[in-house]
């Protein structure tokens, strides 16, 4: 219990300190930080619309966070969630515009499966090469990210380009679009958020309750001992990368099916990289990842509101940087926190 409180308190205090530091920056540009933070909070949670917006932003972040976090638990550093996410959406988008004839009950899971399979396959290349030749997954996944960028660019300006010629795929069939949970104005909260939470639960159960999860963790912690215990390291490295990639692919495909309904050239916009910090802030724990994603998602959403009072979007990036820094070096905060407690 005490540990639990500390686990919550540390990130919260980190955010607080980050906000205090940033307040000085905002003061320095001649704006009122309290007003600005009011806007930030309001923009993230102040209205139904704001909350929907925050949840929309949080959804893919949870999934990329899970993807990277799963990799870490399995002893691989999947820096390629970025590419896998785009690949998942790209492949799913290429086929899902033809699913008009299918009922949603078929089209939705099918599209999701295709997206996940694409992400999984793309990541499994890195897994396979690591298992077979020892090629470092950080290298191969970075290379695959770049490759994805150019393939995506090729696809949206060529084979997938829509009639008017804008670089985006045609809209996917309505039957393959995720059902909408809530609609306020033009903003639609799709059931993607439920999928991402289910994915977190899946990850928790998979890692903690199943024999496959046991094996994947064993390989991640100590491949020699795993092999000794009859666990195939090669198979599990590929599997771990594939599952991590599938989660990233799912991030892409929920964006596709729930938000944009088509593939846009630069779909991910860095969410794969955000997944790294989200996974680590959430300590590779599914529940932690959900909250970390919510934190980043809310900062993003609220920041747009701040722009209305002339605080540039860069301030928010700086705030994010400081928050992430303090959460990573959590001992800074722990030290402050403990000192406070001793004094009290």
């Amino acid at each position: 219990m005490k540990k639990f409180i500390e686990n919550i308190a540390v990130p919260l205090i980190s955010v607080l300190i980050a906000l205090i530091i940033s307040a000085f920056i905002i003061l320095a540009i001649g704006k009122n930080p309290i007003l600005a933070y009011g806007k930030l909070l309001n923009g993230a949670f102040g209205s139904k619309q704001a909350i929907i917006d925050t949840l929309i932003k949080t959804t893919p972040l949870i999934l990329t966070g899970l993807a990277v976090g799963f990799g870490f638990r399995a002893g691989v550093f999947n820096i390629g969630a970025e590419g896998q996410m785009a690949m998942g959406a790209l492949v799913a988008a290429s086929v899902a515009s033809n699913f008009g004839g299918l009922p949603p009950a078929v089209a939705i899971p099918l599209t999701m499966l295709i997206g996940m399979a694409a992400g999984a396959g793309w990541a499994a290349i890195a897994g396979f090469l690591k298992a077979k030749t020892g090629a470092h997954e950080v290298v191969t996944t970075i290379m695959l990210n770049w490759t994805t960028t150019y393939i995506a660019s090729f696809m949206v300006t060529g084979p997938l380009a829509t009639g008017s010629g804008t670089p985006k795929s045609p809209e996917i069939s309505t039957s393959a679009q995720l059902p909408i949970l809530m609609k306020v104005g033009a903003m639609e909260l799709s059931s993607g958020i439920i999928i991402s939470i289910l994915a977190a639960i899946f990850m928790y159960v998979f890692l903690n309750k199943t024999t496959v999860g046991y094996e994947i963790k064993a390989v991640g912690f100590n491949p020699y001992a795993a092999e000794y215990g009859g666990i195939s390291v090669a198979k599990n490295v590929v599997l771990a990368m594939a599952i991590s990639g599938a989660l990233a692919g799912l991030a892409g495909v929920t964006e596709l099916m729930g938000v944009h309904h088509r593939f846009l050239g630069e779909l991910s916009g860095g969410k794969g990289f955000d997944g790294i910090s989200i996974a680590l802030i959430g300590q590779n724990n599914p529940i932690g990842i959900i909250f970390a994603a919510l934190l980043i998602g809310a900062l993003r959403t609220g920041s747009n509101e701040m722009q209305f009072m002339g605080v540039s979007k860069y301030i928010v990036i700086i705030v994010q940087a400081i928050v992430i820094f303090l959460v990573a070096a959590d001992r800074i905060v722990r030290t402050i926190y403990l000192r406070k407690k001793v004094k009290a």
Partner: protein, 345 residues
Amino acid sequence: AIMVTDTGGLGDKSFNDGTWAGVQRAAKELGVEAKVIMSQEQSDYIPNLTKAAEEVSKEKDGGIVFAVGFMMQDALEKVAKQYPSVYFAGIDIEFGKELPNVINFLFKEQESAFLVGYVAAAMTRTGKVGFIGGIPIPPVERFRYGYEAGIKAYQDLHGKKITVIKGYTNEFSDPKKGKDLANSQFSQGADIIFAAAGACGNGVIEAAKERSEKLAGKGLDNIKKYALSGKALYYAIGVDVDQDYMAPGVVLTSAMKGVDTAGYYGVTWAFKGQFKGGLKTLGLKENGVRMSEMKYTKDIIDKLAPNVLKELEYLKGLIIEGKITVPDSEDALKAFTVKGVKLPK
């Protein structure tokens, strides 16, 4: 008036900056407030447009929301339908079915590119000119069609054989990549390169500048003296805005796209009650696209390619009159010819 940028944001020296300049100019004249929101990712478009629409609908004297960049097409369509009483303007955005409260501004980039292509064709010594695009998206490609068409026109009219070498940086924000690609094209024999590649184009200009300065020395005077003496140099051609100033004498000219015009008129119409929804395509005729005035290079061009400026004026007239249709697709480009045109003596 509120402008929502695409993920490129302000500072792109292209449609975001251009529109913003126009919006600000009009806002100042009218004494109204202008705001900008920069989108950080694709899923910001709908919420940002929504917020902008909410703000604007609260204003007593009304206003207008600008959505800048073709990526915002879906978002603009959705939000505009939700707020039928708010005026919207889309830059580079085309709808399948027009909405009464949205003006869609499109540009005939190909028309200005045609003119700069014609200049390039006239000025090349090596018979090879380059084109560097960002990502081959429609506005970039329209620049290329026009450029190639201009070159073709010159070939048809003057019988000079010119080849175009083409490459893409596949992004818009890495000047070094533009420079590398430019150097590749120069090393393959090109001596003039037209870049429609956002900030990558800065690298293209720099590559031309570096090469020319090495031959002629630094500064406009040296460049001019060297060029006027009839010796060959390397040149770049700018895009979107007047980039001639970036390397005086080295940037031959720029193919400009008048997004500022769109920004200016959008705001003015909205506040003066002259707003009318629908597609507005701006070309040479509407002064929506144009060629830079060649402040630094006019003498050089005049000296090395006499008549070409006069010919340009004539061709521009033909385009405005609709006697020449500059191609805006690959097929049209293939079919394009000016064989029927007779240049005035």
